[in-house]
Amino acid sequence: MIGKIIRFEWRYHTRQISFVAAVLMFALFGFVLTATGFGPDNIHINSPYSIAQSVGILSLLSVFALAVFCANAVVRDREHQMEEIVFTTSVEKLQFLLGRFTGSFLAAFTAFSFSIAGMLIARFMPWHDPDRLGATSLVPYLWSLLVIALPNVLFAAVLLFAFATITRNVLASYAASVGLYILYFVASSLTNSPLMAASAPGANEWAWVAAILDPFALSAFFEQTEHWTAAERNTRLLSLSGNFLWNRMVWVAAAVAGLAVVNRLFAFRVERRHQRRAVLQPASPAGGRAEATPYVVSITDNPLQAYLSATKFEIRAFLLSAPFIALTLLWIGLITSEILSDLSGGEVGTALYPTAERLFRSIGTPLGLIGVILIVYYSAEMVWRERTLQMSHLLHASPAPNGVFVLSKWTTLTALIGVLTVAGVGAGAIVQIVRGYPLDAGAMLAFAYFNAVPLVLFAVIAIVIQTLSPHKYVGMPIVLAALIIGQRGDDFGLEHPLMLFASVSSILYSDLYGFLNTTGFHWSVMYWSAIAGLLLLLAIAKWRPGAKERIGRTIPATLTVVLLATGAVIFYNANVLQAWTTGAELQQWKADYEKKYRPFTTRPQPRISSIRANVDLHPEDGSYRLRGEYVLVNETTQPIHEVLVAVRRDANAATIAMSSAREIKRDERFNQYLITLESPLQPGAHTTLRFDVNYPNRGFVSSDANVVENGSYLMSFMAFPSIGYRWTYEIEDPRERRRLGLGASSAPDQPEIAATDWVDLDLTVSTARDQIAIAPGRLLRDWQQDGRRFFRYKTDKPILNIFSIASARYAVKKETHGGVALELYYHPGHDVNAERILRASKDTLAHLSEAFGPYPHSHLRIVEVPAHWQFGGFATPGVIFLNETRGFLIDARDPRRLDLVYRRVAHEVAHQWWGHTVSAASGPGATTITESLTKYSELLMLEREHGREAVRESLTHELDRYLSGRTGETDKEPPLARAGRQSYLYYPKGAIVMYAIKDLIGEKAVNDALRTFVREQGGPHRNPTMTGLLQTLPRHPLIDEWMNDVVLYDLELESANARKLADGRYEVKMRVSATKQREAGPKLPLRESIDIGMFSEENIPLYVAKHPLKDGLNEVTVIVAKEPAFAAVDPYVTRIDRNRFDNGRDVE
């Protein structure tokens, strides 16, 4: 019997057009994922890792298909009024339910399996980079299908089936599936899933909870593979063990339990709808009848009234329904937990103030995600509701125009988005109030508007597609496809702002300038609204199937005019003002530049020795102009015949002049000026180059936010003309280089700041009258002229040619310490961390001057820059720029958290020595000198201020950052001393190794060496290298190994047992296992003294001392005075340990 039901169910589903649609959809999605090269760049597109991740992500989408198959499996009897027939047959309940479920689940899972076919086919497409293709094997595909997809789809299917069957309401099952997504979402943010925006890699003690909690197992997958290197990701299959295994068992068990619950709660009979059935009233022949003809009324055209009445009905049905109310409550819970976890989970676990901007970073992504999911579901239900109920003829015979129906449905979807948005914003506002942060209602509402508008536009698309589609379940995948094209348009060649639906330009926010790019946003919204309006008219014309409705000419004509007008304005801004290019065109431009100008790298070029310039900033319209002159000097040994001057490509009206020039040729495409000299510039000789470069307002499509209304920030290498070949134009990505026929890049690491020129600087900066402009050097004069304010800055001695200019309405704090003027420039109101920043600067200046040699400037300015800049802090000679949200708005009050403000300021101040005094020669290890020594200095300061525990916490984060960073390596991982652009080496590994060296040979020995290094190799025109640094440091085999090799330790505390001694002290016996290994190489002999630590219940160190350890098992016995609660090997992270979680354990 049950076999028959399954077979029937299977046949029923597989013969529906929706089955074909689902098969095609999954095959297509699988194909697109692989065909577009989904996955990290350094691993194969058909690696087990990529396959598992793709299958996991696609299984997220399977919920939509399950809504079609499983939710429907029982409810459809009701929709088709078949209940009576089915329930009176001889089928038993359990058989019926299991049969229906199994049949529909098999159909859904079969459809899903086609995603693998799509992925496989895509792998054989000709356009892939051969480097990203591994050997093809079916095993990882089938394994992923089995261990990831099958349990995922099974549980989701049971959930939807259960909700739909028990409530007999399809919407309730949709709500349940949204709940499923929310669970996934919470788990993802707990594990810092790489799939989530704004996730920072970091250790998290809740990772295991999330790994089990995530019903799609993606969190468990990421947890298991977090530290896998590229080679492992390319070959290893996911292992069915640990938390991943637990996760699978939990959710399969949940699925089985769910089916049991359905069997218990499902009443196998026709539901008595709403208690009493109205009884037929026996009517007396004459009685009850008022009059033969009904009351006479007048009929008027009142579509507005009809629209309002219809909207009321829609809202009553969809928004005031139990599923939606439950969803809204779930949503509020999700968003509150998201906000709270984000606020306490900033970089390295810092807390953040609940600013409007911060809150919307938490709200925006989930709102967008849940919003579109609901739109996909609800648009299908809404548009098809009357047809499903067989009610459309009643309504369509009325004179109400089609617009009444279409618009009331769109309004309801809009209201639904509105409710979600308002609930999200409300949760945010409550957090602001509760946390005692000033409620910023205006900004919150503006953010709500900017986030909700694209959803409202998408709702139009969904309604139009469903209206034109032949079936609800055909419309659903089309809506999904439209969504994906909209979100990933650039993968489909849709890049231009006029091509990508609802691609409103991105809004930037900073307390300094408020909202930026709003003009562009409003124009895009008008443009897309006109298109949405026209699409709505199409839906309106087609609403009554079989009966066309004539739409007057006025509205379409008006919309078309709006469309053309706004389109023209956007086009003008994008293509005329901004000279818009596609990503591909830009890459080609870069490649062509490199091919044409690369030869200049080998020709002698002069060096800039001094810059005198006027910089005119116009915050009111975003334009700026640089005029002035360079003194060029030939420091080579050959005469120079030609000088190549590069001006940024978007500058216009540039003038380049040189008195000794015979000819100046301009290459318009690349904005290069080739100057042929009258007579060659002899070695040691000077000449002067004059320039006048103008950057006009680039229109609203520009993402350029350098000069803004308040909070302008201009980096020198972004604006000033440069001499010779411009390395920053080179494409970095090796695959892209190969595609464009370029050889290996020889660009220096960090080409922007790899400048090794030292210059005298004399800048006159002008800005708006009420703003302060900052530049390097001593402030000579500050005056007003022609309604603008001028500042002249001049350096006392040469500085590295890396500087920035800022301008804003700053508040200022000034102090003097040890002859150095400390100046803090910040946005009024952003003074919560002012004292801390000043103290950190002061401490660091004092301590590092003592340790490494004197600070080279008479002043140190710390200047706030708006949140959109992609750095936490940026050091230039004598001036440090600190990010608004990543410095000024960190909530540093909690003493138990890592003091990131102090650490960051100390770091940037330390760069005054490492980078701006010692300027490394470009080449391997340059970044190690600049950054690792800065990291070391930063940790010294952190330890002085907050003690060793703070260092431990900081290094814990560094270790994690290194271990996960190295998984993204595209080449072989170089040793620290030869680090190039690998930020996972020079920051985190550098910090650990440098501090381990301090632990090994003592702070004094390290500092003395560094002091010598600064004295001997610091200052202009010396180009120290890692060899120099290593020669300065004392010799030690471990230093040599850590710096020049890639070794990984694995230390584990296997047991720790305490025994109380007669004298009241405690003896702790421990077993420590230790190994050391070269990456993917043989084990290395280990004979090192490593810290063993005992800690009290309150985490106070009771005992820390070095014990000699050898590879293999070690027995260690320690006697401590107080009762230890916790023991650990290498508690202060002096070794690169693959797994530091097993380094400590509770003492038994």
Partner: protein
Amino acid sequence: MLSIAHLSKTYPNGVRAIHDVTLQIDKGLFGLLGPNGAGKSSLMRTIATLQEPDEGSIVFNGRDVLADPRGLRKQLGYLPQDFGVYPRIPAIDLLDHLAVLKGVSDKRQRLAQVESLLQLTNLYDVRKRAVSTFSGGMKQRFGIAQALLGNPALIIVDEPTAGLDPEERNRFHDLLSEIGENVVVILSTHIVDDVSDLCTRMAVLANGRVLLQGKPSELISQLDGRVWRKTVRKDAVAQYRETHTVLSSRLFAGETRIHVLADERPEEGFERVASDLEDVYFSVLARGRA
């Protein structure tokens, strides 16, 4: 007055639902009789502007319906053959909403009409109950109530008595005939008695074509004296069908009675009976098949 001329409609799947239909329909009840699948509902839906014909014209009171469907919808009351309603919505609320859609804008007028219709259809006492919980008859009465909203000049009711018990059906007929005094009412049915009880004019539709139209009484009188009846054995019916024009065969008290159309007495045992509308209907269908 409704005139339909040369109306044709073929569905995308190739089914020719209406074929060159021409009808003149005056005030009063007009019966559209035909077997299941004859195209009645298609014709009704086309007149009700729910679908567009491929060819032909529909003119109501001098106005072109196809050119201005909304003009007709303002005067239309339509009761589809089978309809559902929004769940959990009380009858009075749903009627109010439908009245608004019909264009009854004035709130007082609307309320008055909704209440009067609820009384008229004897649903006043259950007005606050959800229509989705109504029994078949009550739902049908609700259907008639909504069709009468806005005082329509053209009322189309499609198979309205299907599923009603005899008492309900009678009450329904009373209601229809009273309303039909002043407006055009088109009643589609496959039950001959519905037409003979109610309609002043009628048409027979089969395979999308109009086979016959006129006043029921006149149509009946055309068959006067030509209908013969005989009680026969059940297994003989097939034989009679081959040799005679058998209009109908039905069981009567356990025996089979056949009606045969003939100018003379066909054979021994046949007795002449007074013709009725059913004979007309079957004779037309028989001719249509021939």
